[in-house]
Subunit: 123 residues, 2 copies
DNA sequence: CATATGTTATACTAAATATATCACAAACTT
DNA sequence: AAGTTTGTGATATATTTAGTATAACATATG
């Protein structure tokens, strides 16, 4: 999978890394049990520091997307806590939808967007 | 409207301020043309610095939620650019939904959440 | 004139971000 | 056994962001 970092973005590099890997999992570019590049490899490929990659991996582990094995590095391993995930999704959605609603975006518009994104991920 | 800041949150104070005001607009606690507290007033009420409030107001102005008048302070004034708002909503949703999808949350779950939030805002 | 408004400027502390090395134990490869 | 690769830890440094503390200013209102 190709990981692209926007160095001019206001988003921190490790945040971009996390999001791209999660996006990769959602689009089946990464699959359960698959091995991520080592922190040193990925750091060199992207052209950033080893510790920045390590921070991203640690967060992914904490959030239950990978497990880190000393032998093989970071491995995709989804820890499913659906209730917790639902609560997090709801509070994140609340902020996004409030912005949208202020701008005149109706509930139907959002449903359409959700379907578009899910189609793109599952397709 | 009561604005509450969590000083232990990892979210910056000015970000929390922005989100709460946008939430207030979405729930009709703030209405078009209504006046927000002055930067000095709100800063004293919350117990933070004037500049922190000013930063939040400036961002809200830049994002098209308020207009700032030297005479009357910050006034709710939504600038509707629906196409732009749709694009922003979509890219923000993409990240949230990717996380959700990895955790086994299906499209129906999301639609339910969206309806819950919209009901709460419009209700 | 006095007051309240947003705005601007400066200075400072603290935290977050990212990089640069160095070192270590564990596991694998040869 | 030797060497390599793995994640991890420690330390140091530079940069940026966040937040505060003052002070001053122009403008509008009373």
């Amino acid at each position: 999978m190709i990981i692209e970092i926007d160095f001019n973005s206001d988003e921190a590099i490790y945040v971009q890394l996390c999001n791209q890997i999660i996006l990769g999992i959602a689009t089946s570019q990464f699959r359960e049990g698959e091995q991520l590049p080592s922190v040193r490899q990925l750091a060199e490929t992207i052209g950033i520091n080893m510790h920045t990659v390590n921070k991203a991996y640690s967060i992914l582990q904490q959030d239950g997307f990978v497990k880190i094995d000393r032998r093989r590095g970071a491995i995709i391993a989804i820890d499913i806590d659906k209730l917790r995930a639902l609560n997090e999704a709801k509070s994140e959605l609340a902020v996004v939808l409030a912005r949208a609603m202020c701008k005149g975006i109706g509930r139907d518009d959002i449903h359409t967007l959700v379907d578009q994104i899910y189609d793109h991920y599952e397709g």
